[in-house]
């Protein structure tokens, strides 16, 4: 073959300098390696048995051994102020702010608020159905819309409403008494057919001085 026109089918220089095709030696693996593999398999089997939730399709928490034992577990004890604070931080600070001061002219304060420290009857109603229209808080007028947290809105149960109100009534120097879930349940039942937000005049009977 001439160098000027290399034969396209002939081995290329790359082929010419190749090593032979690869092959494997017959070395037997170290026994230490095999032993460590067995230990790993054994440990994995123990893990699987412990964290399988009884292989039950209705168990989603690996700490539970099976539904039988779950039924016997005690219900968690909840600190209402801690729970209420968490609810407040996640739901209320956007408007009422973390320091409870609200936004002047826009969102009313909760700290030292005459509404917060007065009867819980008004507060529970406001949480369940929301509030709209003008209201006077600590002498200043606000005209906004407070969303509902009952069935018209986020559909909070009685304990959540009670906890968040308990929290705000003792925070930032407020001196209101805790609110019980039973109170929320009673008020919810007595206002069951209400389907719109409250206005300040409607709540006047619970909030003297309006």
């Amino acid at each position: 073959m001439s160098d000027a026109h290399p034969d396209p089918l002939a081995p290329t220089p790359a082929h010419q300098r190749e090593n032979p095709e690869p092959h494997e030696q017959e070395k037997f693996p170290s026994l230490l390696l095999l032993f460590l593999c067995s230990v790993l398999i054994f440990a994995s089997a123990i893990y699987l048995q412990r964290y399988s939730g009884g292989f039950d399709p209705l168990v989603y928490n690996e700490e539970v051994q099976g539904r039988g034992s779950a039924a016997g577990a005690a219900a968690a004890v909840v600190d209402p102020i801690a729970a209420g604070k968490r609810l407040f931080v996640n739901n209320c600070v956007t408007c009422h702010q973390a320091n409870g001061q609200g936004l002047a002219g826009v969102y009313p304060p909760l700290a030292g608020s005459d509404w917060v420290n007065a009867s819980e009857e008004a507060l529970v109603r406001i949480l369940i159905h929301g509030m709209s229209g003008p209201a006077v808080v600590n002498g200043a007028t606000y005209n906004g819309a407070m969303p509902a947290f009952g069935p018209l809105g986020s559909n909070w149960k009685d304990d959540k409403i009670a906890h968040v109100l308990t929290y705000i009534r003792q925070e930032w120097g407020n001196k209101g008494a805790p609110v019980l879930p039973e109170t929320v349940a009673r008020i919810r039942a007595s206002t069951a057919d209400r389907n719109k937000a409250w206005t300040a005049p409607e709540l006047a009977e619970f909030h003297p001085g309006q």
């Binding site: 160098d3 290399p6 034969d7 396209p8 089918l9 002939a10 081995p11 290329t12 220089p13 790359a14 082929h15 010419q16 300098r17 190749e18 090593n19 032979p20 095709e21 690869p22 092959h23 494997e24 030696q25 017959e26 070395k27 037997f28 693996p29 390696l33 593999c37 790993l40 398999i41 994995s44 089997a45 893990y47 699987l48 964290y51 399988s52 939730g53 009884g54 292989f55 039950d56 399709p57 209705l58 168990v59 989603y60 928490n61 690996e62 539970v64 600190d79 102020i81 801690a82 604070k85 968490r86 931080v89």
Partner: protein, 506 residues
């Protein structure tokens, strides 16, 4: 030359050395695979460049969300998806086909038959990918991760794949009798597993969707197995071939190869469920996935030892051989990313790292630092043998290697740190010593976003480096094709011209 195409090997004189005869045979085999392999390589590199552009845009958007924010087709959700699908099904799968075909033919020690099948397959595959990507940018994504191509594109992929699978069975069936080398086990396994995974996933998620929470199980069984049962075996097959080939040494142990292969087949299959830890699924199946992910240490360590003991004593060769450099970088990355992956499945670590940028970094550690770098190494070896030309420029190879290696390292390290920070801030709590009240250390989500921004920026910088490396590679690839055919006795490109070249090299 004669049109009768005489077998070069058969025409050798009696008494020719075995080595020469083998080289002649390999040369014939390579000539026969030339057209389809070259097509798949060109397609792969084209998609690599496309996917890299999508990657840069997506990366910039994460720390600069208004960037190109006016057009719907460029929205992050579309661009990020287009990036993933173009690099997985465009670059990586075309490259996998090229490497698999080339290796299958060589390891079967027989000339390639039925080339037409592969040409048709290549056309349909890339047509499907192009239509699929256009569909994603149009907003037709299925929103099933790793299966986002709309239903009007996927049958093309299926047809293409079926043809390749059929070809592989024929090639294996008509192989020369003798020992089946480890690379071929991996290739056959990959070529068999992928179409089954893809068909089952399409059936159970797109064409006749299963109900409720079974969907994510199918989704992540599929998606993880694309990595573990398609790309990983092809990457390992490549390492098992090129490492001993370039070094001129045997693989350390056949038994380690066998143990590594079967333990991978058994455990990797179950590991995919680790994408769903903490999710709405029975605890037992998640624990099974965790266990499988931990047991993956067995094949990973076994294979790592096998490669390392093969390489021992020859690390000096990394100075001159481009193939070896990329392959070894890839092999080390494989071990590292797999061990980290096993750790990520442990529940307490998962609680921290799940849903964070750490996972994205891990995915790139595997698909880029391992698979892509290995394939780059394979391409540097294959091309001279396919085209009869030599790579013209050692500096361009160095630019390619260093920009990609350093780039992906910055990417992985930076984003993993950022991901860990993000994860820690998302779950960290303090307990009041007096009341026992538990509160978040970083209650505002926007603060977490702010803290991760520097790491997202570092990822973009790494991406720019990687892009430069890819451009160098693509330019070099094209330049090589413009070279005249190499004359007899031509030297290979060497990365360190001063290093003494051993008698056998590549």
């Amino acid at each position: 030359m004669s049109s009768a195409n005489p077998s070069l090997a058969a025409s050798l004189k009696p008494g020719t050395s075995e080595a020469t005869a083998e080289r002649a045979l390999l040369s014939e085999i390579d000539v026969s695979t030339r057209r389809p392999v070259f097509f798949f390589l060109c397609a792969a590199i084209g998609w690599l460049l496309v996917g890299t552009v999508f990657a840069l845009i997506a990366s910039f958007k994460l720390h600069n969300p208004a960037f190109l924010g006016q057009a719907e087709w460029l929205t992050f959700g579309n661009i990020r998806t287009a990036h993933l699908n173009s690099v997985v099904y465009g670059w990586a799968t075309n490259a996998a086909f090229a490497v698999a075909i080339w290796l299958m033919a060589r390891l079967s020690r027989t000339q390639l038959r039925h080339l037409g099948i592969l040409d048709v397959a290549g056309f349909f595959w890339n047509l499907g990918v192009a239509i699929g990507l256009a569909g994603i940018l149009r907003g037709d994504s299925t929103s099933i991760e790793w299966l986002e191509f709309p239903a009007y594109a996927t049958p093309l992929l299926f047809v293409a794949y079926a043809l390749i699978g059929i070809w592989a069975i024929i090639a294996f069936r008509f192989r020369q009798p003798g020992h089946v080398y480890v690379s071929q086990w991996y290739l056959l396994a990959a070529l068999f597993w992928f179409p089954w995974l893809y068909s089952i996933a399409q059936l159970m998620l797109v064409f006749a969707p299963v109900r409720g929470a079974v969907q994510p199980l199918v989704n992540w069984w599929f998606a993880h197995n694309v990595l573990g049962l398609w790309f990983t075996p092809i990457g390992l097959a490549a390492i098992y071939y090129f490492l001993p080939k370039v070094l001129g040494k045997p693989i350390h142990s056949y038994y380690l190869s066998a143990l590594g292969f079967w333990s991978l087949a058994l455990f990797y299959n179950w590991a995919g469920v680790h994408h769903l830890i903490g999710g709405p699924l029975p605890a037992w199946v998640l624990s099974a996935g965790i266990v499988a992910s931990l047991l993956m240490v067995i094949p990973v360590v076994t294979t790592g030892i096998n490669h390392h003991l093969t390489m021992l004593g020859s690390f000096g060769r990394l100075q001159d051989s481009p193939t070896l450099r990329f392959i070894v970088f890839g092999g080390v990355s494989y071990t590292l990313t797999s061990l980290i992956g096993s750790a990520m499945a442990v529940r307490s670590f998962n609680e921290l790292a799940h849903f964070t940028h750490f996972t994205v970094a891990h995915a790139h550690h595997g698909l880029y630092a391992f698979f892509t770098m290995v394939v780059f190494g394979a391409i540097y070896y294959m091309m001279p043998r396919l085209t009869g030309r030599e790579w013209p420029s050692a500096p361009l190879i160095s630019v390619h290697f260093w920009f990609c290696a350093v780039g992906i390292t910055i990417y992985v390290v930076g984003l993993k740190i950022g991901g860990l920070l993000q994860g820690w801030e998302m779950i960290a709590t303090t307990a009041d010593p007096q009341t026992g009240e538990v509160a978040l250390r970083v209650p505002l989500f926007l603060d977490i976003v702010k803290h991760t921004l520097p790491y997202l920026v570092s990822r973009s910088l790494a991406g720019i480096m990687i892009t430069i490396g890819h451009l160098a590679f693509a330019v070099h690839f094209a330049w090589m094709l413009l070279q005249p055919r190499a004359v007899a006795g031509a030297q290979p490109v060497r990365l360190s011209p001063d290093a003494a070249l051993p008698a056998s090299r590549a």
